[in-house]
């Protein structure tokens, strides 16, 4: 609940005059809406809005986001059901719908739609109906697919309302009917545009009824004059129209444009396709078409296109499309003014430079901002302002206008200030703002234009008033025009300062810097729009438009809280207060001048901006206008006037009436008469409301157009790009064609060459073919020949085989014969040898026979004494022969034995060589060992020598001392004693040695030369021929004869001296068995060769025995065989005498042999 209270407070704060507070509250609401999902807040907001009509709340409601849409729709639905709130809730719905919220597709499903339709069917209040119809028309393009369900409802509504227009049920004022008519007209367009087949069939069925015929004649038929045949009537069908697929591809603005296309009403129609209206127009007013085509505007816009593509293209598009819109939207009065705004835009430096910012899509523009477009026409603003300003002294709550004014100035928009008027909505303060931009513009550009517009207005008003079939009279007109001129001047003046300085509105304005772009865009659009309206107004309704433009003036004054008196005051004050030297003063004059048909003084500006075209155009226009002015009456009889125009006129009239009314009112009376005017005020207010609705609707349409424009612009750009691309492609194509030509030429060349080559080739081929044929022929011949030859060859082979077989046989025979032959020859040789033997034997026989004869003769001759002797001899011979034979045998045996022996000996020899080598090695070893020992011994010996020397020295020294002492005697005794002492000392150390020495010496002398090596190793005697005796003598020589002890020493020394010689055995010498060497050697040989030697010994002994026996028998052979043995025999006895020395093996063998 607290929250609710809160909301209440906040809501009240929403309308606070302070901008900051309002902003804050708005943001708070938005946030809470974002956070909350319940319907409560929305409901309270709607309620509050209905209560207070508060703009900020409206703003919040119109921008509701998705989750709240349902609540909003429900709430609206709820209120639609109630008659009291219907109107305001419908206007709210209108606001919401026009913004095209993101959830617009939900509208078709919402229960709101049926209830709205129901309301439209049932309600009797014209205002509500008009508003509702407008809302419905707005909604239709958004939910085209809903037609399926509600189509009949739509048609029913149309039928009802159209009949209303005629029947005027109840006491509906005429004025309302105009509005209703206009909205019905729009509904007609919309329905016809969207569902032509269905609609036509409905019309057919509905107006075929008798009671409706009148309505048809009066209302519907005129409407039908403004549409051309819908293409769908030809191509489409009822079902197809309702097919949702058809609508899927179309956006809202597409639908709107679709509808506009089929309109012939210049105010409604779209020229997008370049036909329809233009034709009609051209038909009606040839010069107009000329204008359209050749008008400078087109040029200018094109030129813009050159400078900045986007603005120009949009503007170009706009040139046609918005035409329909403008008249509807109360803009028509501006006809005269249009050139100026246009000019202004053209003039703007930024435009000239091509620096205008590209137009942004109106779709993006927030609702507030979109307003200005619809009110593009400054003229109205110009008029409206004076009235509006007083009405809303401080800006009550104009949602958008403030922004607008801010932007205008900020952007120093090209858009003429006048265009920004917003009075259409509420007829309230908005108006004021439009002027502000003026100031910014500086004094050069806009002011002139402004002044022109203002200046023109009175003139128009005057004109139009006169034309009007209304009650106004010329005088009144004149008065009005005068007054207006006054007002305008007055108004214009204040404008300057206000805009220039920071007016309250300015302050109110939101930070609108971002919106600059919109402004500029709107400027361009507005400018482009203007010509169109200009045309239209010029063509037909020139006179009316000014009036329309004035209409807004009425409602504001009426609806405005401020009293006319206030207005008055204000005006007057304004008038008095500021009369700037600015162009504002010019207008009156201008108006005059214009009226007189003279070219307006601002012509030079055109020249500056658009040297040729503009000038041309302006002059043309003025001419036209003059014509129109004159021919207005005729124009009135124009066959059909669309409800729109009627409405326009009504508005103008209303404006006039209002202005008159105002003028009539005196300050005091105003307050008094207030109640009297209550009724009228009410109607006026309603009218105002209706107008507002209408305006909003138009604005919506315009927005759709803008969307459309953007799309088309994009298409144009793309088309241009494609064209360029096409051109490039064409160029390429040309190049490629040239290439192709070249290739063709070269192809031809190649073909000719190819044909030549082909011919050559053919000739070659034929030649080769003939050759081949010939060769084949040859080949066949050869083949035959070869076959013949082969048969021959086979014959030959057969022959050869036969011959070979024969040859084999022959060979066989030959071999056989050869074998036989050899046998025979062998036999022959045998026989020959036998024969030879036989011959030899025969000869021998002969010889023997002869010898026999000879012997016989001898025998016969010596017969007596030889027989005995011969016999003796024979026996002797026989014996001798036997002897010899045995001898031979013996010798043979010996030979064999000796041969064996030789072999044995040779093996022995080898063995001995081997042994010898080993021995040598061993000897080397021993030698080195011995040398080592010897060295040691030598060392010792050396040492001994040294010792002796030292001792001798000592002794000599002692002697010397003795002799020197002079007491020789005494000393001699001493010497003897010392000698004895020395002897004793020596004795004790060498007693053992000396004993053995003596013994050995004796032995040595006994064995002299025989057994040198048999001595013990301790005492060695040299075998080198130094006898012990000699050694002793030498030792005695060495030692002083006086000293026997020394002799002993010497003997001992002698033995040591002799040592080395004994220890060096020569190789040839035979070491004794007892000696060191001998023992070693024995060991060595025993190990290695004893067994072998033993065997040898056995065999050799047996051999030797046999030999010995033979020796005894046969002495003759002795010389040869035992040669070696005998040679060795003599030595062996010698070695036997040294028997103990049997070191070597061969010693033993010798021994055995011997």
């Amino acid at each position: 609940m607290a929250q609710l209270a809160n909301i209440g407070e906040l809501l009240s704060m929403l309308d606070s005059p302070t901008l900051g507070v309002r902003d804050d509250v708005t943001t708070i609401f938005k946030e809470s809406l974002n956070s909350e999902r319940g319907p409560m807040l929305v409901n309270t907001l709607v309620d509050y809005y209905l209560e207070t009509n508060s703009q900020p709340v409206l703003h919040i409601l119109t921008t509701l986001q998705e989750p709240h849409d349902k609540h909003l729709l429900d709430k609206i639905n709820e209120y639609v059901g109630k008659a009291a709130t219907r109107l305001s809730i419908l206007s709210l719905l209108g606001h919401v719908v026009r913004l095209q919220p993101s959830w617009k597709h939900k509208l078709s499903q919402a229960p709101l739609l049926p209830s709205l339709l129901k309301c439209l069917k049932m309600d009797t209040d014209v205002v509500v109906l008009t508003t509702g119809v407008l809302v419905l028309i707005t909604m239709l393009p958004m939910i085209p697919q809903s037609g399926k369900q509600h189509l009949l409802d739509f048609f029913d509504i149309f039928g009802r309302l159209s009949s209303w227009c005629l029947k005027k049920p109840g006491h509906v004022t005429e004025v309302y009917l105009v509005h209703l008519h206009a909205s019905v007209y729009a509904l007609f367009h919309r329905l016809y545009g969207m569902y032509p087949c269905n609609f036509v069939s409905f019309l057919r069925s509905h107006y075929s009824m008798k009671e409706n015929v009148e309505t048809f004649e009066e209302v519907v038929k005129p409407m039908m004059e403004h549409v051309r045949i819908h293409p769908e009537l030809v191509t489409g069908s009822k079902d197809h129209e309702l097919d949702p697929r058809r609508w899927k591809t179309l956006e809202t603005h597409d639908v709107v444009i679709e509808c506009a296309k089929i309109s012939l009403d210049p105010t409604e129609a779209s020229y997008e396709d370049g036909y329809s209206v233009s034709h009609q127009l051209s038909a009606c007013l040839p010069h107009r078409s000329a204008d359209v085509t050749t008008s400078p505007y087109v040029d200018t816009q094109n030129s813009y296109g050159g400078a900045t593509s986007t603005p120009s293209s949009t503007s170009r598009l706009m040139l046609f499309s918005p035409a329909g819109q403008l008249p509807q939207s109360l803009s028509s009065p501006s006809t005269r003014l249009l050139p100026e705004p246009l000019q202004a835009t053209l003039w703007s430096p930024s435009m000239v430079c091509g620096m205008t910012t590209p137009p942004t899509s109106p779709g993006n523009v927030p609702p507030d901002l979109s307003h200005p477009y619809s009110k593009a026409f400054g003229t109205t603003g110009g008029k409206g302002t004076p009235l509006g300003t007083p009405a809303t002294s401080p800006p009550p709550a104009p949602p958008c206008p403030p922004d607008d004014c801010v932007h205008g100035p900020a952007s120093q928009a090209t858009a003429a200030p006048t265009r920004k008027e917003e009075r259409a909505d509420s007829s309230r303060p908005h108006l004021q703002r439009q002027q502000y931009p003026l100031n910014d513009r500086g004094l050069e550009d806009l002011p002139p234009s402004k002044s022109v517009t203002l200046g023109n207005l009175p003139y128009f008003l005057g004109d139009l008033a006169s034309e009007e079939d209304s009650i106004e009279k010329d005088k009144e007109e004149a008065a009005i025009s005068k007054e207006l001129s006054e007002i305008t001047t007055a108004e214009a003046d204040p404008v300057v300062p206000r805009g220039g300085f920071d007016s309250p509105f300015y302050r109110d304005s939101l930070s609108g810097s971002q919106r600059k772009t919109h402004w500029t865009a709107s400027g361009t659009q507005g400018s482009s729009v203007n010509p169109e309206t200009l045309h239209s107004s010029l063509d037909k309704h020139g006179p009316d438009t000014p009036k329309q433009a004035f209409t807004p003036i009425d409602p504001p004054s009426g609806s405005a809280d401020a009293s006319p008196a206030g207005d008055r005051d204000r005006q007057t004050s304004l008038e008095t207060s500021i009369l700037t030297p600015s162009p504002c003063k010019i207008p009156p004059q201008r108006g005059v001048s214009f009226g007189s048909g003279q070219p307006p003084p601002y012509d030079h500006l055109f020249e500056v901006a658009l040297p040729k075209t503009a000038c041309h155009f302006v002059s043309k226009k003025t001419e036209e206008l003059l014509k129109k002015v004159k021919g207005n009456p005729e124009e009135d009889c124009a066959p059909s006037t669309s409800p729109m125009e009627v409405l326009d006129r009504l508005i103008e009239q209303g404006a006039d009436a209002h202005s008159k009314e105002l003028s009539k009112l005196s300050l005091p009376s105003k307050s008094v008469d207030w109640t009297h005017f209550g009724d009228e005020i009410r109607t006026l207010r309603d009218q105002l409301l209706l107008l507002h609705n209408q305006l909003l609707y138009e604005r919506f349409k315009r927005q759709q157009h803008a969307l459309r424009n953007r799309r088309l612009l994009r298409k144009v750009i793309r088309a241009a790009a494609l064209e360029e691309h096409n051109a490039a492609m064409k160029d390429q194509l040309k190049l490629q064609e040239e290439d192709i030509k070249m290739w063709k030429v070269s192809l031809q060349k190649e073909q000719t060459r190819y044909s030549q080559l082909q011919e050559q080739h053919d000739t070659m081929v034929t030649q080769l073919h003939s050759q081949i044929r010939q060769l084949q022929h040859d080949r066949e011949e050869f083949y035959n020949q070869s076959q013949e030859l082969q048969t021959k060859l086979e014959d030959c082979r057969n022959m050869i085989a036969e011959l070979r077989a024969e040859l084999k046989k022959a060979n066989y025979k030959v071999c056989h014969t050869e074998l036989l032959l050899s046998q025979v020859s062998q036999k022959l040789s045998n026989s020959e040898s036998v024969q030879q033997q036989m011959e030899f034997l025969n000869r021998q026989l002969l010889v023997l026979g002869e010898v026999n004869e000879l012997y016989l003769e001898q025998l016969q001759s010596k017969h007596p004494d030889t027989t005995k002797e011969v016999e003796m001899m024979k026996t002797a011979y026989r014996k001798e022969l036997e002897k010899n034979r045995s001898h031979l045998l013996q010798q043979n045996q010996r030979l064999e034995a000796s041969q064996k022996r030789v072999v044995e000996l040779e093996s022995l020899l080898a063995k001995k060589d081997h042994l010898l080598l080993e021995q040598k090695k061993y000897l080397e070893d021993v030698k080195s060992q011995a040398s080592g020992q010897l060295q040691a011994a030598e060392n010792r010996y050396e040492a001994q020598k040294k010792i002796t020397r030292v001792l001798e020295l000592e002794i000599l020294d002692l002697y010397g001392r003795l002799e020197k002492d002079g007491r020789l005697r005494k000393l001699e005794e001493d010497k003897a004693e010392t000698a004895e002492a020395a002897e004793e000392r020596l004795d004790c150390c060498s007693d053992g040695c000396s004993d053995s020495l003596i013994g050995h010496n004796e032995e040595a002398s006994g064995h002299n030369g025989e057994t040198r090596t048999s001595r013990p190793s301790g005492t060695r005697v040299s075998c080198g021929g130094r006898s012990t005796g000699g050694s002793s003598s030498s030792s005695s020589e060495l030692s002083t004869p006086e000293k026997p002890p020394s002799q002993r020493f010497s003997s001992r020394w002698e033995t040591t001296v002799g040592e080395p010689s004994s220890s060096i055995p020569t190789v040839g010498s035979l070491p004794s068995s007892k000696s060191f060497l001998g023992m070693k050697a024995r060991e060595l040989f025993r190990n290695k060769s004893e067994s072998q030697c033993d065997e040898d010994g056995v065999t050799s002994s047996s051999l030797s025995e046999t030999l010995k026996t033979e020796l005894g028998k046969d002495s003759g052979v002795e010389n040869k065989t035992p040669f070696n043995l005998e040679a060795s025999h003599p030595s062996s006895p010698n070695s036997d005498s040294v028997g103990q020395l049997h070191i070597m093996d061969y010693n033993e063998t010798h021994h055995e042999h011997s």
Binding site: Q929, S931, G932, A936, A937, K946, R949, V950, L951, L953
Partner: protein, 293 residues
């Protein structure tokens, strides 16, 4: 091959890891098993590896020619040596050059003098410089070798080797010393030169006495292993290493006398390291002698 199979297969890695001498003993034993000992191999071995102390005496004696290569004659030859020793000693006793109270080292000296025929006329005669060398060496050797006979013989042969085999190369050592010092640390050498201490370095102590008295015997014998096996260059590296080790101190000293004095009495605690490094250095510069096995 059998030798190889007996050896530890890890032997290759011992040296890499830094264990030295694990395998040497075994291989030395193998070497010593040969009947005629291969002097060459022994030389190479002792140059390459430090000798185990239990075999040192034997190897030295063999290398110095005190013992013949044949095992069989060792006993006999040793007996000769012993006899000779006792004879000489006896003679000296007789001529009263020595008595029981005479220090062993002097006994050795007298014996050596006697054997080399340089025995002065009287024990009271002043000693020659070479006798001092002998004394120093003998003193060191006395520490190393227990048996006095062995000691005498080893000393005698050692000195003999110095005087005969190295007679030509010893005077070259100072030059070599400078050269290697320059290679190792030229700054130190320049410092020495700046102090003009190069010529006054204790070359006698180093090269003639072979560091006897300069290094403790435990380290010294490792140096002498190399000397005995025929390389006197090791002395140079020991000297270089000494200088390198005491570089800071030497650099701190400015006069040649001080340097010489310091070097003559270097602290003994780091000698082991010095010797090890010196051997490394020696191997580095002269290459590791190839085992000709």
């Amino acid at each position: 091959m059998t030798d190889d199979s007996q050896r530890n297969f890890r032997s290759v890695y011992y040296e890499k890891v830094g264990f030295r001498g694990v395998e040497e003993k075994k291989s030395l034993e193998i070497l010593l098993k040969d009947d005629p000992l291969d002097i060459e191999k022994l030389c190479t071995f002792s140059q390459r590896f430090p000798l185990p102390s239990m075999y040192r005496a034997l190897v030295w004696k063999v290398l110095l020619g005190i013992l013949p290569p044949h095992h069989d004659s060792h006993a006999k030859v040793m007996a000769y040596r012993k006899d000779q020793y006792s004879d000489v000693l006896h003679a000296l006793m007789v001529v009263r050059f020595v008595n029981d109270a005479t220090p062993q080292v002097e006994v050795y000296l007298r014996m050596y003098q006697l054997e080399s025929g340089k025995l002065p006329r009287s024990p009271s005669f002043p000693l020659e410089p070479e006798d001092d060398v002998f004394l120093a060496i003998a003193k060191a050797m006395d520490e190393m070798v227990e048996d006095s006979v062995d000691c005498y013989w080893v000393t005698r042969c050692f000195v003999k080797q110095l005087n005969s085999k190295f007679r030509d190369s010893l005077p070259q050592l100072p030059k070599a010393f400078e050269q290697y010092l320059n290679l190792e640390d030229s700054r130190l050498l320049s410092h020495l030169k700046a102090c003009s201490a190069v010529s006054k370095l204790p070359y006698d102590l180093w090269f003639k006495r072979c560091f006897a008295g300069c290094l403790p015997e435990s380290s010294l014998q490792r140096v002498w292993d190399k000397v005995v096996s025929g390389s006197c260059k090791i002395l140079v590296f020991v000297a270089v290493e000494i200088l390198l080790t005491f570089k800071m101190k030497v650099m701190a000293l400015n006069s040649a006398e001080k340097i010489t004095k310091f070097l003559e009495n270097i602290p003994q605690d780091s000698s082991d390291a010095i010797v090890s490094k010196a051997i490394d250095l020696w191997h580095k510069h002269c290459g590791t002698p190839v085992h000709s096995a």
